[in-house]
Symmetry: C2
Subunit: 208 residues, 2 copies
DNA sequence: ATACTCTTGTGAATTCTTTCACATATTTTA
DNA sequence: TAAAATATGTGAAAGAATTCACAAGAGTAT
């Protein structure tokens, strides 16, 4: 199978969200056209994206909402739960821990780590804060599959190296630095400054 | 001038960050090759991106770090400051308010809004929380140019409509819904769930 | 001065992504 | 049961983004 582009995966996420909503509204069938409209894509784009993974629709009718949703869930790996750890229980880290939507989606925050002695050993929204010193061991022991990095940018590479060393293959990063990971590790970064810069670019270069 | 792609703008952000670091390290000159390597791009990509905006390098030598940084800042609209407002002072909103790096970059959070009576009128990290009822008026009065939306997803469209109604042209959204804005408004969304789903896709489909 | 090295800037080639357009399958209507 | 309507699935076309490859400018060494 041809390698699937990142934009296709992003769009699948969006389709998935739309399908969740439709399911709640008891809509049973949706056409590529309607699915496209609700996300500002084209119908052809929707069909092409789905066609990479199989053919899920009925000609003349459209796609069955609940089946398609399940199928996308299976493609995106949302049928099982994932063991997630968070490193850095500061502003961003706290927000993430308290966000129950992730758990609901199957991303279970099993362990949280910090290096601040005032935080270690305390309960944080129901989870005990562990000492980052034991990171390697605890990641392995708890079979952690994804790690979220929310430490200060200056600490991030160090933490990433440890996380990679413990065999974790996927990392979500909130720090603002360029992090280096080996080929076989998937690192994605949430870069809010970059998003703001897209906005300032738009304002600074807006055609009058 | 040909329309510049979003990916070019994203890369400029990354170049900018690298140049900031280099400047701190007193590096005066950098080649496209080195600039590429530190971000896992290709040298040709770096040169092409920059060439859309002019020719800033010296053949045989490379680019002058500090000049190039300033030039990119000017392209991205980082030379001036922008008046930003935040709506929704919850977990995410609080994290953003306390993040001083944005201010340093010129994104000045002038006003913060909430609809929770327990929060309105109180000081939040040095900024008074205003009543979202006065949103329209206050956005205009304070000449707000960008708005960050950090309200629950169910409230987001309502807030966006008001913000657009007040003439704001750029919005950064943290809610997880598909928001509709008119053509001339730039909306960017930070979608952490989507990022996690890229990771689970990678794990679920990893070649062994 | 001249040769040599280095690295930019950029058309052209390539690769990747999106859109088109239509044959095909299914449902609906009559 | 046949015709009309609808919407998928997919090669092919078009469009974008990336990479190639090299002429040309600038510095350095001899
Ligand atoms: N707050 C924001 O809105 C925001 C926005 C954009 C980017 N970021 C980035 O997100 C990251 C976290 O930001 P924040 O505002 O939550 O910072 P923070 O200072 O509030 O939290 C960082 C936490 O990490 C802990 N920590 C420090 N070093 C550590 C280590 N080596 N191991 C484990 N824990 C360690 C600290 O004790 C603290 O609890 C930073 O890299 C920041 O650049 C934050
Ligand atoms: N917390 C996270 O880690 C996280 C992760 C991903 C996405 N999000 C999204 O970010 C948004 C904010 O999340 P949060 O965790 O900060 O939520 P939160 O509930 O902590 O904060 C929301 C804030 O918005 C205020 N609010 C509600 N309705 C409002 C209105 N109409 N006008 C003004 N203020 C209003 C509330 O009083 C509250 O202070 C949500 O849309 C959520 O889906 C959050």
């Amino acid at each position: 199978m041809r390698r699937i582009s990142e934009s296709t995966i992003s769009r699948l996420s969006l389709y998935y969200r739309t399908l969740e909503t439709l399911q709640r509204e008891n809509v049973t069938t949706i056409s590529s056209g309607e699915l496209a409209r609700s996300n500002k894509f084209t119908p052809a784009q929707v069909r092409k994206d789905l066609s990479f993974f199989g053919s899920f629709g009925t000609r003349g009718l459209g796609y069955p909402v609940s089946e398609l949703k399940d199928k996308i869930a299976s493609i995106l790996g949302l049928c099982k739960t994932w063991n997630v750890a968070l490193v850095g229980v500061g502003n961003v880290g706290s927000a993430l821990v308290s966000y129950k939507e992730f758990q609901r989606q199957g991303f279970i925050i099993k362990k949280i780590f910090d290096n601040d002695l005032r935080k270690i050993g305390k309960n944080h929204k129901g989870i005990l804060v562990s000492d980052v010193k034991n990171l390697n061991m605890e990641l392995k022991e708890n079979k952690i599959e994804m790690v979220i990095i929310a430490v200060p940018s200056s600490e991030a590479q160090k933490v990433v190296d440890e996380v990679v060393g413990a065999g974790v293959r996927t990392i979500l990063n909130f720090a603002t630095t360029n992090l280096k990971v080996p080929e076989n590790v998937v690192l994605r970064s949430v870069n809010m400054a970059m998003e703001l810069e897209h906005l300032s670019y738009a304002l600074a270069n807006q055609k009058r």
